[in-house]
């Protein structure tokens, strides 16, 4: 799976409150509407200007806080193809893979806002075409790659009927 798009750069500690603000709690049963507010409190322009295939690129501890799966859901609905960060909060990381949104841990310092990047999920390779550099990411655990390949946890359970590792 090769993904291509522009980078939207964010800093450290992007919480699920910044991704899916509590004041839109009432839109949680209406994800397309909630997606119009994705990351609104971190960058009000993001949800208006993000294009299909773009990447969210962040620093440490992306997705900390609440377990709200609506956070990765609306990132995916916004068209984002993957989230690249130096590190992720654990519930967000698991939620993202469960719903089929690729997340890669990598050194994101050499990616700037607007850079054109290419990501090979299987190889864990990030190519920053704007700077002509390659960045290696931490490989996902085998089981999580299997979940992504199957389109997420629900599709996996529908296919295999059970959970075995």
């Amino acid at each position: 799976m090769i993904l291509k798009g522009r980078a939207w750069k964010f800093g450290d500690n992007i919480s699920t409150d910044l991704i899916a603000p509590g004041r839109y709690f009432h839109l949680r049963t209406n994800l397309p509407e909630l997606a119009k507010h994705t990351l609104e409190d971190a960058d009000p322009e993001f949800s208006k200007k993000v294009r299909k295939g773009d990447f969210i690129v962040a620093g440490e501890n992306f997705g900390l806080g609440s377990s709200r799966e609506h956070a990765p859901q609306i990132i995916k609905l916004s068209g984002v193809s993957a989230v690249l960060a130096k590190s992720f909060a654990r519930i967000f990381y698991r939620n993202a893979v469960n719903i089929g949104l690729p997340v890669l841990e990598a050194d994101t310092d050499k990616i700037d806002n607007g850079d054109k990047i290419e990501v090979d999920i299987e190889k864990g390779l990030i190519i920053n075409n704007s700077k002509d550099i390659k960045i290696r990411s931490q490989p996902l655990p085998e089981f999580m790659i299997k979940l992504l390949e199957n389109g997420g946890l629900i599709a996996y359970i529908q296919k295999y009927k059970d959970l075995e590792i």
């Binding site: 409150d17 509590g22 004041r23 049963t29 501890n61 377990s67 799966e69 359970i157 959970l163 590792i165």
Partner: protein, 417 residues
């Protein structure tokens, strides 16, 4: 090889010897979701088109927007009411209180595994259970299969000795620990709290500690069982469920952190990070528009007794609103019986029904632009209380109550010495 508490519980539920780093499938004892995450959980269960494995141990709580402040949320609540009737799962509707408090009062037993579609599910670790938060999809699958997958976490041993000084509480201790570890200092790890300070701590304080383990990024927080655990279970009517859960002496810890509690002072988390911790005494220029006492962190009867002691016979600062919400109906009843609600009302407080209150930014005290709130909750992220242009400080019930009187952040030790 010796095992940590997490390794022991995950071994017993996967029927093999598991250690940190293993990826395993384990049976679960209790699965919960709330009105913020429950409707999506129900949707995912419907997509799976399968029955819930153990309805009597599958519980939905309406605690986040409770009672509903708007029609969209009323419809979300209807989804939970209809699903629980149809599936036989349990529902704790408006007026019952916060999931984490209710499962501690009524359900969680030592040695069990609890999963919840709420990040503060880790609270139940105070009872010697392995409890962790997940998203709606994970919880839906857990509810249907009666099991889930885990990566067995490495454990940080947090050893606390010494007596908490007058005016400092378990909340100050956990703020200190999070400040020391950082907001991602324990990502994917389990925190085991131990030492004489923890052994002397009552269950309410232990629940405050484990509640905030996730604020250091941890998967869960755990405390070995002892006489206090047993007495709590007896008081709650399920003393027969007590079992001893302790780490092995030769368990392998990733890190050991030693803390002398006698050095602590009342602490406050400063916006917009929980790990941005400062002494309350250094923040006396912070003028407060609102003080909130409650939540799954500090909305227990023990917290209310502390607040009432400070507020008794006094009035809040006229420019500082004081909002108080009991964590459960049981807490509310006890507070009424003990006359605490009367003290709060006389002090000028507004009492909310049992539930999350304004902590989640949905209702019950949303902050205005530029406003500042001091809360006993666990998170002060930008926008948390419904407004990204407001600021949230976090502290103990004592610091919150004392500050409500002065109208600025105040060190409660002044009131007690």
């Amino acid at each position: 090889m010796g095992k940590t508490i997490s390794e022991k519980i995950l071994s017993s539920h996967s029927k093999k010897d598991v250690y940190a780093g293993d990826i395993i499938v384990a049976n679960i004892d209790l699965a919960i979701a709330q009105d913020g995450t429950g409707p999506l959980t129900v949707q995912k269960i419907r997509e799976l088109n399968r029955a819930v494995k153990n309805p009597s141990k599958t519980i939905f709580f309406i605690d986040h927007a409770s009672p509903s402040p708007r029609k969209e949320l009323s419809d979300a609540h209807t989804i939970l009411r209809e699903f629980t009737i149809e599936s036989g799962c349990k529902l704790y509707d408006i007026g019952c209180g916060i999931s984490h408090q209710i499962i501690a009062e009524e359900y969680v037993n030592p040695g069990e595994i609890v999963i919840g579609a709420d990040s503060h599910t880790c609270t139940a670790g105070a009872l010697g259970a392995f409890a962790t938060g997940m998203g709606s999809t994970d919880i839906a699958v857990g509810m249907v299969l009666g099991k889930t997958w885990f990566r067995v976490p490495e454990t940080y041993k947090i050893l606390v000795t010494g007596k908490l000084p007058v005016g400092t509480y378990p909340k100050d201790l956990i703020l200190y620990i999070i400040g020391k570890l950082g907001a991602n200092g324990a990502t994917y790890k389990a925190l085991e709290f131990s030492g004489e300070t923890i052994e002397r701590m009552e269950m309410a304080g232990r629940l405050t500690l484990t509640n905030m383990a996730v604020e250091a990024g941890a998967k869960t927080g755990l405390i070995a069982t002892d006489k206090t655990t047993e007495e709590y279970l007896i008081r709650q009517g399920r003393g027969e469920k007590y079992v001893e859960i302790k780490p092995d002496k030769d368990a392998n810890y990733k890190r050991e952190i030693y803390i002398d509690a006698s050095d602590l002072v009342p602490l406050v988390s400063v916006p917009h990070r929980v790990d941005n911790v400062k002494p309350a005494s250094e923040l006396s220029d912070i003028k407060l528009d609102q003080v909130y006492i409650g939540t799954c962190t500090n909305g227990r009867i023990e917290d209310f007794r502390i607040a009432a002691k400070i507020l008794r016979g006094k009035k809040r600062n006229p420019e500082t609103r004081l909002i108080i919400a009991p964590a459960s109906k049981d807490v509310y009843e006890k507070a009424l019986e003990e006359g605490l609600i009367k003290i709060f009302l006389n002090a000028g407080a507004t009492i909310l029904p049992p539930g999350c209150g304004p902590c989640v930014g949905v209702h019950g005290g949303i902050l205005g632009n530029g406003e500042i709130c001091l809360s006993t909750q666990n998170r002060n992220f930008k926008g948390r209380m419904g407004n990204p242009d407001a600021e949230i400080y976090l502290a103990s019930p004592a610091t919150a109550a004392y500050s409500a009187l002065s109208g600025v952040i105040s060190d409660p030790q002044e009131a007690m010495l």
